[in-house]
């Protein structure tokens, strides 16, 4: 057990190094003068030579990378060109909103997905199953940015139930959450349906039914408990997808978060901001996947072997 966790943790440093190398190289692959790229159109005091030295751009690339890495480890991700503030402060301001959106979408996706999947597997009427499977195909095929627009039009502009744009209050989080959650809910409903139908065919379910237990109890207590591990595993895999999806959803709702920073930074050529946000996103993604990996190893001993 301990060796499994340790082996996984050992994987973390090389991954983080590789991720930082990618974000470092990215900036150097952008065509143009690095001084302008890192300091905007007008380097301080107009003295390009001084700026070059200050940024360490006169050093060989490996030295520059080590310097970048050292600074990043101290929380220094450079200075935003547009606002002149430290990149880390910019990201720190926006990060909670992104996390909030991703977590609430995860919760909603699990509730919706498990609920619909259970319905499809447990209700004997065939049309219920057909309807749920059809809904899940639609959910998987729906562009989130279109769904977001339709929800804004209906619930924010016409019915005025929710604030329109750029709002991170609880009310302002409802529509983005629904938008982000639906595709994940679609995947989870299928996984739940598949897992539950398999479990429902097993002997002990027949035993429980033969004992005269109510079908509802058999499904919800006996069967769902055994299907849920697979569902939660897939839900964990969905987390990264939700994090990525938040980039688009935040932009649909003009919701201040990491996703809106990245996109506005690309359009405004604010390279330190792009670099910082991409790094934070990737580190988060790697860390979460590792955490889930370890967690599954703890829950399900069979995984530890592979």
């Amino acid at each position: 057990m301990l060796t499994f966790v340790l082996r996984r943790l050992l994987w973390l440093p090389p991954m983080l190094l590789a991720v930082s190398l990618v974000t470092f190289v990215m900036i150097h692959l952008v065509p143009g003068d690095p001084v302008q790229i890192l300091m905007g159109q007008n380097p301080t005091g107009g003295n390009v030579q001084l700026a070059r030295h200050e940024l360490g751009l006169d050093q060989p690339l490996p030295v520059q990378y080590l310097r970048y890495l050292g600074n990043a480890l101290h929380g220094d991700l450079g200075t935003s060109i547009r606002s002149g503030r430290p990149v880390l402060a910019e990201i720190g301001d926006r990060f909670p909103a992104t996390l909030e959106l991703t977590l609430s979408a995860m919760a909603l996706a699990i509730i919706l997905g498990v609920g619909l999947g259970t319905l499809a597997a447990a209700v004997r009427a065939r049309w219920v199953r057909g309807l749920v499977l059809l809904l899940s195909t639609l959910g998987l095929s729906m562009p989130t940015f279109w769904l977001g627009l339709l929800l804004i039009d209906l619930f924010a502009l016409n019915l005025r139930w929710f604030p329109v744009l750029g709002n991170t209050t609880i009310q302002g989080t409802v529509l983005p959450t629904v938008t982000l959650a639906l595709p994940a809910a679609a995947v989870l409903s299928r996984v739940t349906y598949a897992g539950l139908s398999e479990v429902l065919q097993q002997e002990y379910i027949r035993t429980a039914q033969a004992k005269g237990l109510a079908r509802r109890r058999v499904v919800l207590v006996h069967a769902l408990r055994n299907a849920i591990i697979v569902v939660l595993t897939i839900a964990g895999l969905q987390f990264g997808g939700l994090l990525a999806g938040s980039v688009i959803v935040e932009n649909v709702f003009s919701r201040p978060g990491l996703g809106t920073i990245v996109v506005s930074a690309i359009l405004g050529r604010d390279y330190p901001d792009i670099q910082g946000a991409v790094l934070v996103f990737a580190v988060l993604y790697v860390a979460i996947n590792l955490l889930l990996d370890v967690l599954y190893g703890v829950i399900n001993p069979r995984i530890r072997v592979s």
């Binding site: 059809l134 998987l140 095929s141 627009l149 804004i152 595709p183 990245v262 792009i274």
Partner: protein, 296 residues
């Protein structure tokens, strides 16, 4: 998302060995009503992509100053947008753009993913090790973020989006193909070819590649829909197609400022994206279930 597709597609490798006749696959598809709907939708959009310019009532980039934000009418069946473009003509023209962006992106992913997957799976060794470690690093970035890294380097644009979405999908293809190759590699016929003195290159191309085609076909169908969604999403947030290109995502970007005045600007391009992706998904699911005996 791709990881899911990939995991599902890996199962299809059992079918690769059985190698079902094409005719049987087509017949099986025709017996499934939802797959038929999918095939019909895909065919309809393919026809739109091929013949859209001749079907369109107007030039998709022509500006009609007398009809700005005009609601649907006989002369503009889907209405006009805020610039005075005919929305129907733009939706029709968008089919060609979206399908070609999707095909190019999936083409890039298939070409490199198959190459890397076959090499890593068949040769293994240090080359295979390096390939898989690079894929691990790429998988450390969520696919949209990987696309954003590429867009940062190359600058926003439709061409960049094709490349970016294609590159972002390479790891999924590499893993799928490698997994399929690993099972094919142990088959008797590969052993036999090796015993007969066939070179590694010949075995890879003639025997291994041919037998991992099934999982690739399934993956291509499903990831084409995903590529179209991601590309349109990137155009929607302003990183892809630029106006006045008639691209569905960019049209929706335009539409969000006129939700109250002009619902038609948002409804038609969005419905087009959804229908083509629904079609590809239904068709892909059908193919997967027919080609993959483990699901039945």
């Amino acid at each position: 998302m791709l990881e899911q597709v990939q995991r599902i597609a890996i199962h299809a490798d059992d079918a690769a060995v059985a190698r079902p006749a094409r005719l049987r696959v087509l017949r099986a598809l025709a017996r499934r009503p939802l797959s038929l709907v999918g095939a019909f939708l895909v065919a309809a959009f393919a026809l739109m992509a091929l013949f859209g310019p001749w079907l369109a009532p107007h030039d998709p980039t022509a500006i009609y100053y007398s009809a700005v934000l005009a609601p649907p009418s006989p002369s503009y069946p889907f209405g006009t947008d805020a610039t005075g473009h005919d929305v129907l003509s733009r939706v029709l023209a968008g089919a060609r753009i979206s399908l070609s962006v999707g095909l190019v992106a999936v083409g890039i992913a298939t070409a490199f993913g198959t190459l890397f997957g076959v090499v890593a799976g068949y040769l293994g060794g240090w080359i295979g090790g390096i390939i898989m470690r690079v894929m691990d690093v790429m998988l450390a970035f969520p696919d949209i973020l990987l696309a954003i890294v590429v867009i940062t380097i190359l600058g926003p644009g439709l061409g960049t989006v094709m490349i970016a979405v294609g590159i972002a999908a390479i790891p999924a293809y590499t893993r799928t193909v490698r997994a399929a190759v690993l099972t094919v590699r142990e088959q008797d016929y590969v052993e036999a070819a090796r015993a007969l003195g066939a070179s590694s290159l010949r075995i890879m191309v003639v025997h291994v590649l041919r037998n991992v085609l099934t999982p690739i076909v399934v993956l291509v169908t499903i990831s084409l829909g995903l590529a179209i969604l991601t590309s349109a999403g990137l155009s929607f947030i302003g990183l892809g197609a630029q106006p006045p290109t008639p691209e569905w995502g960019d049209m929706l970007n335009d539409a969000q400022n006129y939700l109250q005045q002009a619902w038609w600007m948002a409804v038609f391009p969005g419905a087009a994206i959804m229908l083509v992706v629904v079609g590809l998904n239904l068709l892909g699911e059908g193919l997967r279930e027919i080609l993959d005996p483990t699901i039945r």
